[in-house]
Amino acid sequence: MQASSEKMERKRRWLRNASSTFTAIRFLAPALLVMGVIIIFPILNAARLSFYNYELTKPKEIAFNLFKNYAYMVHDKLFWQALKNTVVFTFFTVVTGLLLGLILALVVYELPRRFQGLRGVLLVPWVIPGIVIGYLFMYMFDVEIGVVNYVFQQMGIIKEFLPWLMRDNLAMIAIIITHVWNQTPFYMLMITAGLMAIPDEAREASYLEGANRWQEFRFITFPYLQEIIVISSLLMVIRNFNFFPIIFTMTGGGPAYATTTAVLYIYRLAFEHYDMGYASAVGTFWVIILIIVSALYIRTLRERF
């Protein structure tokens, strides 16, 4: 008798589980279907194409070639340059953005409450479309009439006008400055959220014990912010690894390949050289890198919650 009621109970539980799994599927299906068709299926397809010799301009030569694209990639100097560019660009953008965002968040947090609305104004660069930012800064960095040259010259930083977007290192610097302008608000926002989560008691205690401002920051504020800094940096590394519109409009990856990051290289291979097979190989490699960074990011999030 007891055994059978246990059985019944188990059966009931199974039914409930089954029906809830069915419910979940019904609710999730539309979203997963759209994402599957538009994102997952093409990504898998790109992975397949990466094993093919597939140039749009030579339709007769389309053939399976196993690892030939990947073998070529290892020796492709431009590929390595694109990787280096991506790392340089991402590193400086994230570090500078983070520092400025931190300062900004701390400064605004010190203001009396009624001035905290300034935060909204400071956030605006973050929502301006990438293409607009690209054109705007291309105009401001212009060699002949760019206001950046004029202001820098007036301030005595430079002697004569610089061709910002036409010289290798300068173009990279211009692009980093532009991205920092665009992304600093994001860090400010995240760090502000972190600041708000610090219990007042912690700050108060440090004050009562006679800690000075720097000590308070070093031993109270910063430890609380550490996690949010790691999370937002990882998120921004991912974002910058993928970032396209601003570089595309400002330099198109040039001069030559000086500002061609990984995604721009993939774009140029596919849509300037029409080499779909090789573009897919570089793309697949890039997806794998991004999955690794994302895994790091997700692990950090999980440890937190």
Binding site: S20, T21, T23, A24, I25, F27, L28, P30, A31, V34, M35, V37, I38, I39, F41, P42, I43, N45, A46, L100, V107, L111, L118, G120, V121, L123, V124, V127, I128, P129, G130, I131, V132, Y135, L136, I145, Y150, W181, L189, M190, A193, D200, R203, L208, I231, S232, I238, F244, P245, T249, A262, I266, A270, F271, M276, S280, G283, S294, I298, F305
Partner: protein, 281 residues
């Protein structure tokens, strides 16, 4: 309660830093606007005019007089973005509800999977997506673009709405469930009214995503009459119009205005939702 009062010198430092940041933030935007109302001759002045001496709206008026009409791009952007907001909200609410309220196997795997798709580089999937769209006759259509925008805005929308649903106590729904309401009824009648700020924030985000997207329309739309603003700008300011700074900045103002205005209007919700979605993941 703030434990520490700022001394006057401390305030001076704070205000000084703030002024520098405000100039850094606002100047580029001001420059965009002031160039857009300068007469063409003054756009090329050196030293540049900080304040336009003879403001004019000629650049704005010219945007629709050439063979390329910015108003058409604008309409397309509006249609695609609103379509994306509606579709993304419906799909994301359903999915977020399941992830937040229904216990099922692989829930964690599905959540993490959704989060990961957000990280994929758009460029990589463009090649196969182009071929797929060609076969499905989705190139140069609103449906095609709306689906593409939606797929990329869904992961974030789902996570953000999940955060909002998580924060609603479950007791109300339980009693409704016992009273015999279906899950869909509970969702639409009880839960949705409670998460209106979340819906607004998510909707605005989907709007920004769609409005700002360059790559999808650049590749999936070739007809000028179907282009949205970002690829439209590239079309409009290529070749001989490359240095039409006045026109370019006027278009930039028009492209930015809707996002900046919607951002300012719902800023409070947006900040709350963003920190929720991004931090709590």
């Amino acid at each position: 309660m703030r434990s520490r009062r700022n001394s006057i010198p401390a305030y001076v430092v704070i205000v000084a830093i703030l002024v520098v940041f405000l100039v850094w933030t606002l100047f580029p935007m001001y420059w965009m606007f002031s160039t857009s109302i300068k007469q063409t001759v003054h756009v090329f002045d050196l030293p540049p005019e900080i304040f336009p001496s003879a403001p004019t709206f000629e650049h704005y008026l010219h945007l629709d007089q050439g063979s390329i009409k910015v108003s058409i791009f604008f309409m397309n952007s509006v249609i695609n973005s609103i379509g994306t907001v509606l579709l993304a909200l419906v799909l994301a609410v359903l999915a977020a509800y399941a992830l937040s309220r229904v216990k099922f196997r692989f829930r964690k795997a599905v959540s993490v999977g959704i989060l990961t798709t957000q990280m994929f580089p758009l460029v990589v999937l463009l090649i196969p997506l182009y071929l797929l769209y060609k076969n499905l006759h989705l190139l140069n259509t609103y449906q095609g673009l709306i689906l593409a925008f939606t797929s990329f805005t869904l992961p974030f929308s789902i996570w953000m709405l999940k955060g909002f649903i998580d924060s609603v106590p479950i007791e109300v729904e339980e009693s409704a469930f016992i009273d015999g309401c279906s899950r869909l009824q509970i969702l639409t009648k009880i839960l949705l009214p409670l998460i209106v700020p979340g819906l607004v924030a998510t909707g605005v985000f989907a709007f920004l995503d769609a409005w700002n997207n360059l790559l999808f329309p650049l590749m999936l739309v070739s007809k000028p009459s179907m282009k949205t603003l970002p690829p439209g700008m590239i079309l409009a300011f290529a070749g001989e119009f490359k240095h039409d700074w006045g026109g370019m900045m006027a278009t930039s103002v028009i492209v930015s205005l809707p996002v900046v205005v919607s951002f300012v209007l719902v800023q409070r919700f947006l900040v709350e939702g963003l920190t929720r979605g991004a931090i709590k993941g």
